[in-house]
């Protein structure tokens, strides 16, 4: 082994890795330019976040992580994880499964063989619901098949049926998920060190209990705890009747699968998953500049974020904590993740209004 100064080798590598950011800062907050890049942070957001980071490092200097991030060690299947819990009132309205089913029965397109043109012809001839089509000579078998699915009483089968017929971005699929018991919904959002092949730093989970949103965040205080937190999160997801996420089908779930493989853990992909991103995109794509969760919140829910941390900058905040030991940068990561979870619950409530009342 040659005696090349190994510290120099390591520091050059770190420099190269740090320079290799996975987002683009868009100058002058130019919306038009932002549309050309996959992951962007506007320069105003970037500036605010960097200033916040500096403030936090000063504010939390000398403060221990236990003080900064209140939580408790909780036992999981493969060891302890540090869980930060919080709670707040859930927004209305409650799910209306009967109304949702009625709406589904009125969508003739759920019948195999009915396309847009046939649908409008059928409507003109007075067919208002799938039930009417059981008298239609040609469509009767398909209509009966659709009714069998809708009448099955099995929320999973109904959701699968709607997803197959109308796609996962269609309001029908959203309506079908209303049939799942809300107590079994698990809202889910990961914060990670990057887009891929790096540790998860926070597993955010929210459930609805007695009219409140109960948030449970498994914080990876050190990568040594990732495996334990991962096992706890996989167990929580495995118990879910319905998993709710924003972009989870293409990001969070594959990311979990990859991390499970990294540690050689078995895992089962949750069977039922409501990803809100494709639905939001279908409904509001034309109204919003992009479909990031915070944009949807501002444009649809009328809520401005109180935290100043863009998702894409989470890795550099965690890295600042990791390298300095100063817990300050963790504070906005937890707040950001909690806001994401709560926003998803609110977004579901809003989608109910939209889907039921047009």
């Amino acid at each position: 082994m040659v005696g090349v100064p190994l510290g120099g080798v390591a520091s050059r590598l770190r420099e190269a890795i740090d320079a290799n950011r996975e987002y683009t800062v868009v100058r002058n907050d130019n919306l038009f330019r932002a549309s050309f890049v996959d992951r962007h942070v506007f320069s105003s957001e970037y500036g605010r976040a960097r200033a916040l980071l500096a403030d936090l490092l000063a504010e939390y200097d000398g403060i221990s992580i236990d003080e900064a991030v209140e939580g408790a060690w909780t036992d999981g299947p493969l060891g302890e994880s540090w869980v930060v819990s919080s709670s707040e009132p859930a927004p209305g309205p409650a799910p209306r499964p009967e109304a949702a089913l009625r709406l589904l029965r009125r969508d003739l397109r759920l019948v195999h063989g009915v396309g847009p043109a046939l649908e409008s012809r059928l409507a003109r001839r007075g067919y208002a619901a799938i039930d009417d089509l059981v008298w239609h000579r040609r469509l009767a078998p398909a209509a009966q098949w659709a009714l069998d699915a809708l009448d099955s009483g099995d929320p999973s089968r109904i959701a699968r049926f709607c997803a197959d017929r109308r796609g996962r971005s269609h309001p029908d699929f959203f309506l079908a998920t209303e049939l799942h018991d809300e107590a079994e919904h698990v809202y889910f959002d990961l914060e990670t060190l990057g887009l891929f092949s790096r540790p998860v730093i926070l597993f955010g989970i929210a459930r609805l209990r007695n009219g409140r949103i109960e948030v449970e965040q498994h914080l990876v205080r050190d990568p040594a705890h990732e495996r334990g937190a991962l096992a706890a999160a996989l167990a929580a997801l495995g118990d879910a009747g319905l998993l709710v996420s924003f972009n989870g089908r293409s990001f969070d779930v594959p990311y979990l699968a990859e991390r499970a493989a990294y540690y050689g853990l078995d895992h089962a992909v949750p069977a039922h998953h409501l990803d809100l991103l494709p639905i939001a995109r279908r409904l509001w794509r034309d109204r919003l500049p992009d479909c990031r969760l915070c944009t949807v919140e501002a444009g649809v829910l009328g809520r401005e974020r109180t935290d100043d941390l863009p998702s894409a900058m989470v890795p550099e905040f965690y890295t600042a904590y990791h390298r300095s030991g100063n817990p300050g940068p963790l504070v906005p990561i937890l707040a950001h993740n909690r806001e994401d979870l709560v926003s998803m619950v609110r977004l579901v409530a809003r989608l109910r209004e939209v889907c039921h009342d047009g």
Partner: protein, 751 residues
């Protein structure tokens, strides 16, 4: 007209002085063999239908893979290598329906060629293999299907590097992996080779995790050290299969030296020989050293022929359709001659040709044979002509044909322990699976030494499950397989990226004022921003070249290895190289017309070197003999480096040299003595200097012959002048260089 007649005719036509040598190689009959156990029916039936009988080396390859042992195949071009490694792969796939195989090629084009071969084998054997290329060009929509269904995947190292972090998606493929074929493995040498060696170790680790335990089959050009090379590249020992059982037609090999008849040009003579061959009815391929020279020879040849449509030019950069057309033309015999760059050197099958003309030594004996091997594929007689350049290697082989036709001398070197390369791959490995103590067996001692610094820089974290990667960016993006990832300079012209260079090359070739050649266009560098690592250039027509002036100082570290050759000791170890760039020369038609000062900070890097000292009385003895001691040492250093590519597969630019009359090596032996040092140009070392230390007496003997046999009086570009010399080839003393090399040889022969 047969090749033999053509060779005789050419010898008569040409100026006799130019024929340095004609080697007449008799043909050889095929040697067949039968596998120890019969092949399964689909394969045996396929071979029988095609009328294929297996050669001895193909059967040995089959039997070796059946025993579960790695192998390295070094049989010549056109000896049926592809079948030799494909047959055991297909057999494994027949015997086990879950079995899979990976073929790695250095380029996309080669993988695509091989795909055609495998598709036709699949059709002919009715096996269900679904072979597919998986590389940067594979559309996203096809990727999941290939991962789920293909049983043979063809790819390249760059793609493998990107794919490894996604190994969970490849579980089926990796769990069933039986054979990994690494074709053209000799290309994986130097820093590139070290990167590939570590990539292959990462790959083995991931395979093991998924339950796969494949055999590695390497195919390489002829080397002096095939087994050692294979062992370094894969970290496993391999069985050598070098004896070919394929038939070989008789071959005439002409070494042709234009400079022996005064000032003549390699290209014009190559063109004349090419036209002669085509005129005599031989289907001929002419290899040119660059795109531009290929176009020139092609254009001249068309002028010189009665029917210009008989010849065509072929090079990389042509559209696939044009290239296919030329390949078809050759196969069908419509085209009688093709001029090509080395784009055609590799596996692309154009059928048997009668003659090959090579304009300029291609840099290695194995590359020359690969080009010459394009003639006589069908076992008929063939002719090959190597037309020499002025360069030292060309001239050496012209004067020493036995070295060319004798046993192989070229060692392929790589050094996977180079920490500058290893560190990045450790990060990648830790991002793929936690890095544990068990991985030391794969990555070597460097693993333990690097964990600490990588932890200190917060790129790795120790956990109970092993070291976990936790840098904020992708680890694979921090590793450039071609080498020198972190410290690269970009050259930008008119807003677009021209090329990227490592710091060393940027200082020498892209300082402000430098004239830069890029794809035959000239550019002048207008600014060099060291902080941003960016050089700005403008396209400009100039009639001059530039060459940097720099001085080199070497500080050797503690030697970690000693090679004793008789009374002579060569030490290897870390060296710190510091180069001061004082300015650059402007050269017009080989004459220095101006020297312009440069303001650059010194360039400093650590690498591996080997060095040795001479007895302190040497300078006095040289002076007494009327020789210049400094020029003598300097000349010997240049000659040794010029000759290293005869013994190592490398370019002389991959090495640096240093000579001094007063060696300063604190604490080490030989302080104050005359000394020569040879070092790897790549940071951390590429394994060249280390191998050179072991081979020094052989290299010195070659260098002595090169210099002593050169007809020049005071040294020339064919012997002791170096195109990269930072001192403008001053001082040099040719007779002195011979005396120094004689002294080296005398000492190493003394016991």
């Amino acid at each position: 007209m047969t090749a033999e007649d053509a060779a005789t005719a050419i010898a008569q036509d040409a100026q006799a002085a130019c024929i340095a040598h004609i080697e007449r190689m008799p043909g050889r009959a095929a040697e067949y063999a039968i596998p120890s156990r019969p092949l399964p029916e689909p394969l045996a039936g396929w071979l029988a239908r095609e009328g294929i009988r297996l050669y001895t080396h193909q059967v040995r390859a089959l039997d070796t893979v059946r025993e579960g042992r790695d192998l390295v195949l070094t049989t010549p071009t056109a000896s049926g290598k592809t079948l030799a490694f494909t047959l055991p792969v297909l057999e494994a796939l027949v015997r086990n329906p879950a079995a899979t195989a990976l073929y790695l090629y250095p380029t996309k084009a080669l993988a695509n060629d091989q795909l055609r071969v495998l598709l036709s084998a699949e059709a002919a054997t009715c096996l269900s293999i679904a072979p597919a290329v998986y590389d940067g060009d594979t559309p996203a929509s096809r990727r999941p299907g290939i991962r789920q269904r293909s049983r043979i995947v063809l790819s390249n190292p760059y793609e493998l590097h990107q794919v490894l972090p996604w190994h969970a998606k490849w579980h089926r493929f990796l769990a069933g992996l039986q054979v990994v074929v690494v074709d053209e493995a000799h290309r994986y040498r130097g820093v590139f080779g070290a990167n590939i060696a570590l990539l292959l170790r990462r790959f083995q680790r991931v395979c093991r995790h998924h339950g796969g335990n494949p055999v590695f089959v390497l195919s390489t050009a002829t080397l002096a050290n095939p087994e050692e090379f294979a062992a370094t590249l894969t970290g496993r020992s391999a069985v050598l299969i070098g004896e070919s059982g394929a038939p070989q037609g008789s071959r005439e090999f002409v070494l042709y030296n234009p400079s022996a008849a005064g000032a003549r040009s390699t290209l014009t003579d190559a063109k004349r020989l090419f036209v002669d061959c085509v005129d005599r009815g031989l289907q001929t391929l002419c290899f040119a050293p660059s795109r531009k020279s290929a176009e020139l020879i092609g254009a001249w040849a068309r002028e010189g022929l009665a029917d210009p449509d008989l010849v065509a030019t072929y090079r990389a950069g042509y559209l696939a359709e044009e290239r296919r057309g030329i390949e078809r033309g050759l196969k069908e015999g419509r085209l009688r001659g093709v001029v090509t760059t080395n784009a055609l050197e590799l596996g692309i099958d154009v059928g048997g040709l009668d003659a090959v003309v090579i304009a300029g030594y291609p840099g290695s004996v194995s590359a020359t044979w690969q080009q010459a091997g394009r003639a006589g594929r069908t076992g008929g007689p063939s002719l090959a002509v190597l037309v020499a350049n002025e360069g030292p290697l060309d001239q050496y082989y012209m004067r020493h044909p036995a070295a060319f036709f004798g046993r192989p001398h070229e060692h392929a070197c790589l050094d996977p322990s180079n920490p500058a390369v290893l560190a990045g791959h450790l990060l990648c490995a830790a991002a793929e699976l936690p890095l544990t103590d068990a991985d030391q067996a794969l990555f070597g001692e460097g693993l333990a030494a690097l964990l600490g610094p990588l932890r200190d820089h917060h790129l790795l974290r120790a956990t109970p499950y092993g070291h976990v990667y936790c840098g904020p960016g992708r680890a694979v993006a921090a590793v450039d397989l071609a080498g020198g990832a972190e410290d690269r300079f970009t050259v930008v012209a008119d807003g677009h990226l021209l090329e990227t260079l490592d710091r060393d090359h940027a200082y020498r070739e892209a300082h402000s004022g430098a004239v830069l050649l890029h794809q035959a266009e000239t550019y002048r560098v207008t600014a060099m921003d060291l902080a941003a690592r960016e050089c700005t250039a403008e396209a400009i027509e100039v009639d001059y070249q530039t060459a940097p002036l720099f001085s080199t100082a070497i500080t050797p570290g503690t030697p970690d290895e000693e090679h004793r050759h008789g009374a002579f000791t060569v030490r290897t170890g870390e060296v710190t190289v510091v180069q001061e760039f004082g300015g650059y020369r402007i050269r017009r038609y080989g004459e220095t017309v101006a020297v312009i000062p440069l303001d650059l900070p010194p360039l400093s890097f650590e690498t591996t070197g080997c060095w040795w000292t001479f007895p302190p009385g040497l300078p006095a003895a040289l002076t007494a003999a009327g020789l210049d001691p400094a020029g003598a040492l300097h000349g010997a250093e240049h000659a040794l480096i010029a000759c290293l590519p005869i013994h190592l597969l490398c370019d002389r630019a991959d090495l640096g040299g240093f000579s001094t009359l007063q060696f300063s090596s604190p604490g080490a032996n030989g302080d104050g003595c005359p000394a020569i040092c040879v070092y790897d140009g790549a940071t951390g070392g590429a394994g060249l200097a280390r191998t050179a230390a072991a081979l020094l007496p052989e290299v010195a003997a070659t260098a002595r012959a090169l210099v002593a046999d050169c007809p020049c009086e005071d040294g020339c570009p064919s012997c002791i002048y170096s195109p990269k010399c930072g001192n403008d080839n001053q001082p040099l003393d040719k007779a002195g260089a011979v005396a120094v090399l004689d002294e080296l040889l005398r000492l190493s022969a003394t016991h």
